[in-house]
Assembly symmetry: C2
Homo-oligomer: 428 residues x 2
């Protein structure tokens, strides 16, 4: 499906909207005046209430809307690509200029500012990958200067299981965690609030159709199992992490909260922003056959510009704009999303609709492209200077981190992901 680049919407704020023009149509779950959560579509500064507009849909598109009853998108995700595409095609008609739906605007459209946004789906399992190769190299250098990338990195899409119960939508406060840390030069740990609180800039992937336990998803079929994308902030307590993570990996240093942007940007909306998997540098191994698919190599990478901003309490008091910490891109993924799905299920592991993947931190190779404070301040050795006169090595209480994403391509309407925000509050 090509993007209807020139089409305009009768929702005036959608035309030229940075995130949600007619060409995006991300899906989400919202509530209004504390009523029960229900499904919607972001369009400009508004939300189309799918159930209020149900009689405008028929066939597969209607089936897609009906599958969102109950205030979560899992049922729609489970239907796979066909009904999701039918829904998009009908939405393109209904929200385009000239659609009779405009006459029912008061009934079917809400101002997004009046709505609360929720997690789009009930998450079964959450898996965090580590496929931002620049990040893996940067972090590896801090721990192993002579051997930053471990021998498995270019063969295995490295990932680990994360905590599903503490994934929250944009805007939920981030309570500074307490935990064990090992003070520099000591051999016994102390207990207290994290002193090295960090964010991680990641792409989130929502899983669509699942598989039967014991049956792998072939890489050529992976697209059927990917429902859409979001931004993901993998908040990290670096001091807790450094002490706890051996030998079984990160645990309490990550599980206090993970924030996602609430809108699910579909694979269809992102289709114009697909690129060939960036060529591996000379000498890098070819992926093993179960990770290799010609279509995926030719167009499985995503060109999404990713931005991180910091706003401190003092900056907000002084009406200073948020400080850009990084501008990166999802092309820094060493593995495609299809490769992640194929790898995760190759042992027979069951995926379920509403499972969530994180990509791992997506840093670029340059200063200004680093997706965590750990990298920017080299583990706290450097400081970031802010217009407020403050400096930062790690996050302080009151600091807000804002993630944004944007896809642009000549001849196509730009689309964005909406924001993924979280403000740090003091430890309890």
């Amino acid at each position: 499906m090509t993007q209807p680049t020139l089409a305009r919407s009768w929702v005036a704020s959608a035309n030229g909207h940075a995130d949600f023009p007619l060409q995006n149509l991300p899906l989400g779950i919202f509530s209004l005046n504390h009523a029960a959560p229900r499904s919607g579509v972001a369009i400009g500064d508004c939300i189309l209430d799918l159930h209020a507009a149900l009689d405008a849909f028929d066939g597969e598109a209607r089936r897609a809307v009906q599958a969102t009853a109950g205030g979560q998108l899992n049922g729609l995700f489970a239907l796979g690509r066909g009904p999701r595409v039918a829904l998009r095609e009908r939405l393109l008609e209904l929200l385009a200029e000239g659609s009779p739906l405009q006459a029912r605007e008061a009934q079917v459209l809400h101002r997004a500012a009046d709505c609360q946004l929720h997690l789009p789906a009930k998450i079964g399992d959450y898996t965090d990958f580590y496929v931002g190769i620049e990040h893996a190299q940067n972090v590896g250098k801090l721990f192993r200067p002579d051997n930053p990338l471990l021998p498995n990195y270019k063969y295995v899409p490295i990932g680990y299981h994360g905590r599903a119960s503490t994934v929250r939508p944009s805007g939920v406060e981030v309570r500074r965690p307490k935990g064990q840390t090992l003070p520099a030069g000591q051999t016994e740990p102390t207990f207290g609030p994290c002193a090295r609180l960090d964010y991680e800039l990641e792409l989130g992937i929502w899983i669509g159709q699942g598989n039967t336990m014991g049956e792998a998803i072939a890489i050529g079929d992976a697209a059927e199992h990917i429902a859409g994308f979001c931004l993901l902030n993998d908040w990290s307590a670096r001091d807790i992490q450094a002490w706890e993570y051996q030998p079984l990996g990160p645990f309490l240093s990550k599980s206090f909260i993970t924030t996602v942007s609430p809108w699910v940007v579909t694979a269809e909306a992102l289709a114009p922003f697909r690129k060939a998997q960036p060529l591996r540098p000379a000498g890098d191994p070819q992926p093993l056959p179960y990770l290799l698919d010609q279509r995926d190599q030719a167009g499985g990478a995503l060109d999404i510009e990713l931005e991180v901003l910091l706003s401190t309490a003092a900056m907000r008091e002084q009406n200073l704009p948020a400080h850009r910490l990084a501008l990166s891109n999802s092309l820094h993924m060493y593995w495609t999303v299809a490769q992640l799905v194929a790898h995760h299920s190759v042992n027979g592991c069951q995926m379920q609709p509403g499972d969530l993947f994180g990509s791992g931190t997506l840093s670029g190779p340059e200063a200004g492209q680093l997706g965590s404070l750990l990298e920017i301040t080299e583990g706290g050795k450097k400081v970031i200077e802010l217009a407020s006169g403050e400096v930062r090595k790690f996050l302080e209480d009151g600091d807000e981190i804002i993630l944004r994403a944007r896809c642009t391509r000549d001849g196509y309407a730009s689309i964005g992901f909406g924001e993924c925000r979280g403000t740090v509050v003091a430890a309890r």
Copy 2:
């Protein structure tokens, strides 16, 4: 509550039953003739159908039974200790000799052999700990002969997030996983069926009441959040694990399946088998204050005998009894279950009713007490000789692993956990 040691049941098979005498009363979910799953209580060779007997319950006990509607125990787990205890007390009356319920035996009791058992709860998150210190030392020696226990081990109850979607009840076949492995002496991996398939003998813990994200569970309150216990087999693909696990821990080497015994043995049933936390060897550090509670130190450990048996296809054909691989005990846990709950939530991580913990492999210090083939065969260096004339280093297709558990104490009725079985089938 003391155990009604001498009480006998009108269910004749319960009296002297190895696992399910009147003093146990574990909870589970069963189905009969492919009908919808419903809640039950194991009693001897039978299952009491809780909903068929609903009118025999009132007050808190009735509330407990009603909370199991829908074929999962999550709602009962969420109610916490009070209703669960009330249910147990009423069950002790109803199933004791002389109870009028006996007159309704045909209506409320099913032969367990006629029933299918299911997972007792919908699992939100599954966490696998690593608190069997003998296992940690044995495995550590294989990887780091001079430094088997890492510096954090005696301070941090080490754990990691596991895969919830592939936890299955006893009896579900174990499909041999495929994956990447690094052949000895090579630098490039190959792909194929796991050649070093192993089991791990663990205690499982079902979480009861949850907590609000951001609010830790104090160790003194942990008992309110523990619903019960089961056996857990953390099937492990050692060759996949060795190649994938750095730097973020085990992933596909574990996520293909985890098997649990289907009956939830309550904290109340285990009360007589509590012991003081075994004294730490001289020189071991005291737990940090958030992990220290006098009552827990005095009686927070569990004295459960744990057994692993192997039955190969040839042994079954020759009618040979299963071969005992290990006889161990849950007293080899370096941390109590209350310490696990306090640690897991200390960063504000949210627990939810139906979350599952694994203890980690519970090996003892002696030969004959080792909870995995990795330990018994020293990573494949030794072989196990079987009465069938076969030998094993790791599991072969057709091998069945059976876990059992038993609590005994002078003056008390013994109780057991029922079996946790799984048979390996060939890779697809």
